[in-house]
Amino acid sequence: MDAVVLAKLQFAFTVAYHFLFVPLSIGVGLVVVLFERRFYKSGKPEDQAASELWIKIFAATFAIGVATGITMEFAFGTNWATYSRFVGDIFGAPLAAEGLFAFFLESTFLGVLLFGRGKVSKKFYYVSTWLVWLGSMLSALWIIIANSWMQTPAGYKVVETAIGPKAEMTNFFAAALNPSTMPRYLHTVNSLLITGGFVAAAIGAYYLRKGIFKDFGRTAISIGLTIAAIFSVLMIGSGHYQAVAVVDNQPTKLAAMEGHWDKGPVPIGVVGWVDVANKRTISIEIPGVTSFLASGSFKTPYPGLNDFKAEDLPPIQITYQTYHLMILIFGALLLVSVGGWLLNRKGKIEKTPWMLTLLMWMWVLPELGIQVGWATAEVGRQPWIVYPPAPAFDPAMGLRTADAISKVVPAWQILTTLSIFVLIYALLFVGWVRVVSGLIKKGPVLPADKDNKAVPAAAKA
């Protein structure tokens, strides 16, 4: 296999794996805040135990997120050196800002959560949960700024240098708040929080199904379904906002997402298959709806796949299928979160075992939805690593993925490291499952059951 394919595979594998744990840590981060808030208000030992269980689950997940996140920070330089030279003037700043504004905040106050219960006041501890979550939300913001610039770059010009072309920043705010930054940020964090809600509901449902730690289980289900329902409803707005950003800025991605071949109004498909060889799409679809959602008119024409050169098109089938799978998953999430929330409000959820069983596994769906959604975003951006900006779509303003890799790294080295990544990440996954399932089985441990004496202030040096 050639180096470009291997470099793409390595990035896809490591970033997809990393992003399995991002929703679990940012989403569960909000759950931690809400559980610690209960203890802060009530002061009851069982509320403390409940919050501590969440903090432990959060910390184990956060650790694997940190570990696999370092890979991403290295990857631009190790595997994508030509890309790094091209975009460094713009792309590096958000990564540095992420470190300064987000990572230091998160890591400092996570230290307080893990070790500081007896050393700081209850209020300080509670505020620390907010700061950890805020730090993780900020980290997502800086990364989405960087990633959105690859999708809809702005605020720059391309200059020639002795070592090749490079993008040079002309306007910081235009670059940072490029046309897709806000829609993509809202859409992304929205999906992370839905996942967190379903994870809380899943653990709650497991306990209720088993008949253990029932108080904890009820609270987790209530908090979890409330989060999941609120953010699933909000997702209608943020998903739409994001789709419009694609329509306006990435015509090839849009055409591939809907398998739209000829210029004309764009339908919305429910399920389908793109017959790429014969240039047609077989689907169950509602005509004109995508056009309507994007422009307010069912008749607004958009260019189709036939209007572009083949070398400028993304892999069509993957883009189409991942996009439609994401939409179907969203439908299921909306249904189950709102339905579950109503059932819980009526006090009937404990008497509905099938719902509990469903909730135990439901969290897998938002994870899958996020994975396929990212696949739509990143595969649909191909063959560009930096998509030429609308409305000119001047190829000289973009960069092709095939031109972006490290020229000095031979294919066998990428294959070697890719294989090691697969092995290490598999081991980490097993380790993580062991730890988290162990924590869940053990359940919330009352403070009285462990030696947890506060350390007097005098112990400080």
């Binding site: 184990a60 940190v66 990572f103 400092t108 893990l114 290490i424």
Partner: protein, 337 residues
């Protein structure tokens, strides 16, 4: 070469020095871990002594890497792709290390796995960072496009290995000093002994590094001796060694301060020895990556300076807070591992 370019050369240096100071001691302690911690209780003390801070300490590296990417993209690209296998090794080590704390704490059956992950995850980077630094001082082969033309074995030269061992010993010195601040009883006695041993070993290695630098990289030696900044860092290094060896008089915290001056001095000397280059080309100095040919645009450097002016005080405040909250000896039975 502009003022902003020089400012960012200095700031990247400051971030790397911060990394060497803060993550240095916990990498060093992780390296000493199997030798100093004799039983489960010792292990718990060692882990808990760095538990609340190691993650934040590692952020210095991520921020330094991000700043290098932003301020000198060509350097980030050349070094990370050129040192590919070596950096991947560091990366794999750091991955294992990052999960080893929580996974050790909550998985009794697999403790040996995460014990090894913690040790190797600490020792390998602790050695390889110095090797990387040594290669930069010495210079690496570059072509006209600023691409690295060597291979993995180019990096394993005697000079770089000496600097690798120097770095490793320095980190272990910092780590032992930190453990002496945090531990009690027999573990404390072992920490103090190791601290003293490492301080001596560090002096010996500094002498060796000085000799090989004069012999093998005369450019570095003459740049250091050419101006007041180089002399100031040399003086700082001497203060660190003298204070660390003789003056602390049993004040453990002072021994850690003394050891912590060493990475600041060495990173300073390292920066002076290459300035204004960031990656000297060993084949032809004209091909070196320096501030003038690698820095980002003035606008980017300005924006970054504003970001740093807001962010750095915040970071210093967090550090002050967390080290104050967790000051003093580790007491088992508190929260944590």
């Amino acid at each position: 070469m502009t003022t902003l370019g020089v400012l960012w050369f200095v700031l990247v240096g400051v971030l790397l020095a911060g990394y060497a100071l803060f993550d240095g001691f916990d990498l060093g302690l992780g390296t000493l871990y199997p030798f100093l911690a004799k039983n489960d209780e010792d292990k718990q003390v060692v882990r808990s002594s760095i538990g609340p801070v190691w993650d934040g300490n590692e952020v210095w590296l991520l921020t330094g890497g991000g700043a290098l990417f932003a301020a000198f993209p060509a350097v980030y690209a050349t070094v990370f792709s050129g040192f590919y296998l070596a950096l991947m090794l560091v990366l794999f080590a750091l991955i294992f290390r990052a999960v080893s704390f929580e996974f050790y704490a909550h998985d009794k059956e697999w403790r040996r796995v995460w014990d090894w992950a913690f040790f190797l995850g600490s020792a390998l980077p602790a050695l390889l960072f110095g090797v990387a630094a040594g290669n930069i001082v010495r210079g690496v082969p570059l072509d006209a496009m600023g691409e690295f033309t060597g291979n993995f074995f180019t990096l394993l030269n005697p000079y770089a290995l000496v600097l690798g061992v120097l770095g490793l010993v320095m980190f272990m010195w910092q780590g032992a000093a930190w453990l002496s601040v945090k531990s009690e009883g027999e573990l404390y006695d072992r920490a103090v002994k190791t601290r003293s041993l490492m301080a001596w070993a560090f002096v010996v290695l500094v002498l060796l590094a000085t000799v090989v630098t004069f012999l093998l990289v005369p450019r570095a030696a003459s740049l250091i001796l050419a101006g007041p900044v180089g002399w100031a860092f040399l003086a700082l290094l001497l203060i660190s060694m003298a204070w660390g060896r003789f003056v602390h008089g049993g004040k453990d915290l002072h021994s850690w301060y003394a050891a912590s001056l060493a990475p600041l001095a060495l990173v300073g000397l390292w920066a002076v020895s290459i300035f204004p280059r960031l990656v000297p080309a060993i084949n032809d100095d004209a091909l070196s990556l320096d501030i003038a040919n690698s820095a980002s645009s003035q606008l980017t450097l300005t924006v970054m300076a504003i970001i740093a002016a807001i962010g750095v005080p915040l970071v210093l405040f967090y550090i002050f807070l967390v080290y104050r909250i967790f000051a003093g000896k580790v007491r088992l039975g508190d929260e944590g591992y």
